[in-house]
């Protein structure tokens, strides 16, 4: 086992354990902090895939922005959570059955997927250039359209989020 493989396995266990704790923690705050650890582990996986840009963006966007948003909303809604007994709902048995069936189905599909053997065992050195990615995103011949559509989606979502979260006058009394 190479050092890289060992590192991958350790990271994978950290990710899966903290994701599991995210689901099972009774306190929402603990759940949010385990969630941050899982996201950091995913950033390490991106680094192992030699996609350094995405490792940094993962830390900036998820750990920096989304985790802060989630922790803020946990703190803003704290009163409502202290009365709840169990973190899981009444239909958890059915949910567990669905997840187990999905696991079995996915495992069977994975086992019988012949194309997996066609992938190279030895990787060629990565060709990675941030400048090229940036130019491709604004090149009309390449990805300018998806890029612009994505930015309009982000703008609309943020305007909508501000509108929804903004308190209306009749609520303030």
């Amino acid at each position: 086992m190479s050092a890289q493989q060992f590192f991958f396995i350790v990271t994978a266990f950290v990710i899966l354990f903290s994701a599991m704790m995210t689901v099972l923690s009774h306190k929402m705050m603990h759940s949010a902090l385990w969630f941050v650890l899982a996201l950091l582990g995913v950033a390490v996986i991106y680094a192992l895939l030699e996609a350094s840009f995405f490792a940094v963006v993962q830390v900036l966007v998820y750990v920096g922005a989304i985790a802060i948003l989630i922790i803020f909303s946990v703190m803003l809604t704290r009163k409502a959570m202290e009365d709840t007994g169990s973190p899981v709902n009444k239909t958890w048995v059915l949910s567990l059955v669905i997840v187990l069936l999905t696991t079995v189905g996915g495992f069977l599909a994975f086992r019988t997927w012949g194309a997996l053997k066609a992938f190279p065992a030895d990787l060629l050195p990565v060709h990675y250039d941030i400048g090229e990615l940036g130019l491709a995103l604004v090149d009309p011949e390449r990805f300018a359209l998806p890029f612009e559509v994505t930015s309009i989606l982000l703008l609309a979502a943020l305007v909508g989020a501000i509108y929804i979260a903004f308190g209306r006058k009749e609520d303030n009394q």
């Binding site: 899966l16 989304i66 809604t77 709840t84 973190p87 709902n89 996915g106 990787l123 979502a157």
Partner: protein
Amino acid sequence: MIPLSWYLILSGLLFLIGLLAVLIRRNAIGILMGVELILNAANINLLAFWRYLYGYNGDLRGQVFVIVIFVVAAAEAAVGLAMIISAYRRKNTIVANDIDLLKG
């Protein structure tokens, strides 16, 4: 060298844990965290396939997909949390079963 299948198994398991979070959490913020885990699992898959199929020749399609998913995840978190805060103001609860403002 790490085989491709390891990445696929990791992202599959992460997806299943996210699915479990979406299905069993009572707290709406917990459901949102499950959705984020699912999106992360998809991103691991996309980047792994990009690395193993196109990582050597400068094909950027996989990376552009990942960027789009990052933006969609950020937008989804912002809108979802705004809706949770708004529902909390009106109903004073964030248990998903009790938020029934749209029921006639």
